[in-house]
């Protein structure tokens, strides 16, 4: 980039970018982790929305609270707890019958209730036994700036695993999302494909939980995907778009959060997850504009 452009960009962004944004290590980690997680969430999210399994995604996120608090209690990184809880919860949902159209919400709800009850106990134990008071907020609402750089290899590995699963399943997954009956008639093992997809979903949600918290993980999963589905007519394009929107929301959120260290009231910085989720929401609102304008133009 030429110096002139660089200067212009700097002048434009100087009110929002604090000098030294890219110098801090936790920022660099947050940028890397945020990008990986956004790509994975966007990709899986498109299929989650297509399959109408947003509630399962939400439940897996909530249940990560149980795994995350258990990890704090044992003293390992929360990501391990998220992954373990997600895989166990996904298996339980699968066994109870998440694949049956009517059993879907029921199975999810039952697993969710049980798991969250356990989370209540574990969070109580974490705060009393281990005396970690901030744990609850960190688990529930996350902080991508708190991710240690040592976690990056695991994040990348899990991310690649999820992308590999989705790429492998792509065709049969797409067809069984269109019509399970048509897929079955073609000899697609619909149930097996659904189970493998659920595993990918559990891993993707664990990654999202690490960055923006267990409660908010759905926002990253479903938000960019729903936005992309509004804007695209092709599945591949929707996936790419969802990933791009996720990355943009993540990076902008991190930028604002970094800046907010100097904002009132406390001068400690606002929660980064708030900014990320706000960006996702704004993108969703904006994506509705073209249709709205077209309708207006049609009326006029």
């Amino acid at each position: 980039m030429s110096a002139a452009v660089h200067g212009a960009l700097g002048a434009l962004l100087s009110p929002v970018i604090e000098p030294g944004f890219f110098a801090a290590e936790d920022v660099r980690v947050a940028i890397a982790v945020g990008a990986v997680v956004a790509i994975v969430s966007g990709t899986v999210g498109v299929f989650t929305v297509l399959r109408g399994q947003s509630f399962a995604g939400e439940a897996l996120g909530d249940l990560n609270t149980t795994g995350g608090s258990a990890a704090y209690l044992v003293g390992v990184g929360p990501l391990w707890g998220f992954v373990a809880a997600g895989v166990v919860a996904a298996a339980a949902m699968e066994l109870i019958g998440v694949q049956r159209p009517r059993g879907r919400d029921l199975a999810t709800g039952i697993v969710l209730g049980t798991g969250l009850g356990l989370a209540a106990l574990l969070l109580y134990l974490v705060t009393t036994l281990r005396n970690i008071t901030g744990a609850t907020v960190t688990i529930l609402f996350g902080s991508v700036f708190a991710v240690p750089s040592s976690t990056i290899p695991l994040v990348v590995l899990l991310g690649l695993a999820v992308l590999a699963i989705v790429a492998t399943l792509y065709r049969p997954l797409l067809l069984s999302s269109v019509s399970a009956e048509m897929a079955a008639a073609r000899g697609v093992p619909v149930r097996l494909i659904g189970a493998a997809y659920l595993l990918a979903l559990a891993l993707a949600v664990a990654l999202a939980s690490l960055t923006i918290g267990t409660i908010l993980s759905t926002a990253l999963l479903v938000g960019p995907a729903a936005t992309a589905l509004r804007l695209s007519r092709r599945p591949g394009v929707a996936v790419a778009l969802a990933a791009a929107i996720g990355i943009a929301a993540m990076w902008l959120g991190e930028l604002f959060a970094y800046d907010s260290f100097y904002w009132p009231p406390a001068g400690t910085g606002w929660p980064v997850s708030f900014f990320v989720v706000t960006m996702i929401f704004l993108a969703y609102l904006l994506s509705g504009l073209p249709a709205l304008l077209r309708r207006r133009a049609g009326i006029a």
């Binding site: 498109v46 929305v49 297509l50 790429a167 492998t168 399943l169 792509y170 065709r171 049969p172 797409l174 067809l175 269109v178 019509s179 009956e181 048509m182 897929a183 079955a184 008639a185 073609r186 000899g187 697609v188 992309a228 589905l229 509004r230 695209s232 007519r233 092709r234 599945p235 591949g236 394009v237 929707a238």
Partner: protein, 299 residues
């Protein structure tokens, strides 16, 4: 059901001789299916030859969908067997193309008509399809064959019922099956769209020597195209040409009560006939079933 064998005779001995049966692409032989204690199909037999257009006619709940599921291998028969091209059907059978009954696609689904057709080529395979000129050409050719080029780039969920049927037919045909099964494809179409779909299927059957088996609760829309009819009532079936099957005696035997077959301005009506009182009570119970297969109730 003492005369199940008799129906077998009607079915097998009907229009075609043994010569046709040996070259049949589909043979259903004495298939009976019980689901949770209820007999859904009883000793159903018929055969379909390449290039034949067959209507599977019966009222709702007569067993049409179950029979199609048995042919597809999604439902196993308690008795009897299904042969495809002379061999027992295998699990993954590329010989059959299938268009399901209820197809409700979210308008938000990011899937163009051409994407859904392309999925028909190899959706059972793992991995992401690599775009290629041959692939594009094959999809394009298929879209042309079903006259769907006009809306090829529209989202499938936004298409009309008739347009969706065309796309689904293209999706099913692109894998080059020898048998095309369609479950009630005319159910949600208006008269004109229905006629167009039937004409399209008849053309495909004749030109590409593909056997078409199409289920419907109303036979009149299919009459111009049908080479063979499989009439199903109460889980039992009679097959042959329409002249052989759509007769008062054959259908009365099938229903187990007297029915009349009327020709009104070129349309066939199957109506509950005036029998004795016991027949009447039988028909009273199944009255709607008896009225519907022929056509809509005339008042």
């Amino acid at each position: 059901m003492t005369d199940g064998g008799g129906h077998g005779a009607v079915a097998d001995g009907g229009a075609r001789g043994a010569g046709d049966l040996t070259e049949a692409i589909l043979s259903v032989e004495g298939v009976s299916v019980r689901l949770s204690g209820r007999e859904i199909l009883h000793d159903v037999s018929f055969a379909v030859a390449p290039g034949e257009f067959t209507g599977l006619i019966g009222s709702n709940g007569a067993g049409k969908t179950t029979l199609l599921r048995v042919i597809l291998g999604l439902q196993s028969a308690n008795v009897g067997r299904v042969l495809l091209d002379g061999r027992p059907r295998s699990h993954r059978n590329p010989l059959i193309g299938y268009v399901p009954q209820k197809f409700q696609l979210d308008p938000d689904m990011p899937l163009r008509a051409r994407d859904l057709v392309g999925l028909g080529i190899d959706a059972h395979r793992l991995g992401i399809p690599l775009p290629s000129r041959a692939r594009r050409a094959r999809v394009e050719e298929m879209l042309r064959a079903v006259d769907a080029e006009r809306f090829a780039d529209e989202r499938v969920g936004l298409l009309s019922g008739g347009e969706q049927q065309r796309v689904l037919i293209a999706h099913a045909l692109i894998a080059r099956p020898k048998l095309l099964l369609l479950d009630e494809p005319l159910a949600n179409l208006d008269l004109r769209a229905g006629q167009e779909v039937v004409a399209l299927l008849a053309r495909i059957a004749a030109e590409q020597r593909i056997a078409v088996l199409i289920s419907a609760h109303e036979m009149n829309a299919l009459l111009p195209a049908m080479n063979r009819i499989v009439y199903i009532a109460g889980g039992r079936a009679a097959s042959g040409t329409t002249a052989e099957v759509v007769r008062a005696d054959v259908l009365s035997e099938l229903y187990g009560s007297h029915v009349d077959v009327l020709n009104v301005h070129g349309r066939v009506l199957v109506v509950a006939g005036a029998g004795d009182d016991s027949d009447r009570s039988q028909i009273g119970r199944h009255g709607h079933d008896v009225m519907v297969p022929g056509t809509e109730i005339v008042s």
